[in-house]
Symmetry: C2
Subunit: 154 residues, 2 copies
């Protein structure tokens, strides 16, 4: 994704639904997309597992996308034409999600952003860690840490 990154919830939602098959089938909905936070939600029904709770893979999917969006958004705001890809992830499942759920990704802290800027200026590539929390019914059901690689396109 490049400078065309949509900087508002409706624009991001349209992009995800058009470009990413599972965003459609899992019925993801962008609830926030601002400089500090990206929030992506999903209803239980299309994500239900055999226990009647949310499928682990769906929790991982919303988290991976929210983290990706927060990095892609930062690149766009910095006028960087860059590809953002998930390099590694870890997750802890804390409780079952018994209804709809939402992933909240926060922008990396200032020192990480400055470090990423330096890496990109030096070599055209860098990486950044984004923590994401997924909640359901006001409880945290999964904590996720994504390491995203950023590759300048030039």
């Amino acid at each position: 994704m490049s400078n065309a990154y949509p900087l508002d919830p409706a624009g991001l939602q349209a992009y995800l639904l058009e470009q990413i098959g599972p965003a459609r089938s899992l019925q993801l909905a962008v609830e926030a997309d601002d400089p500090e936070t990206v929030v992506i939600a999903a209803p239980l029904e299309p994500n239900r597992n055999d226990k009647g709770t949310a499928f682990a893979g769906s929790l991982l999917s919303v988290a991976a996308l929210a983290g990706w969006a927060v990095v892609a958004r930062w690149c766009a705001a910095e006028s960087l034409e860059a590809e953002v890809v998930l390099r590694s992830s870890s997750a802890r499942f804390l409780a079952p999600a018994r209804s709809g759920f939402r992933a909240v990704a926060h922008r990396a802290d200032l020192s990480q952003c400055e470090n990423l800027s330096r890496m990109l200026a030096r070599s055209g590539r860098g990486r950044v860690e984004i923590p994401v929390e997924v909640s359901s019914d006001a409880a945290t059901v999964m904590s996720f840490l994504g390491v995203y690689a950023v590759l300048l396109q030039r």
Copy 2:
């Protein structure tokens, strides 16, 4: 899942498609379900991202399910009525998947199985680590490690 665990690929596939919404929408297909290995595949098209490769969340989904199936299968073979849930996971993304992909989960090694049996006998609960590899076009695209909790139902 309990003793009703289906011990063949067609039975497992029917179970997943009936019980797990994303197994239908991501078009998962069970290719092997034997005492040593569970293999779950998916086509690219319903799992495509904005780069034309497989969405990270879909790679995580097939891996999480294949690992779960290998543990649920072991419980059924041991005549244990148990719930199996993913407790934590970590994954490394090694290359983009440019076509269909498959997750291969191997049964835990003998010492882990013996350890799990002891934990279950003592407290009714235990956990086991299952490594899963996801490949596409004969290359490994993601390596995944799932820690699954096993809870005896009694």
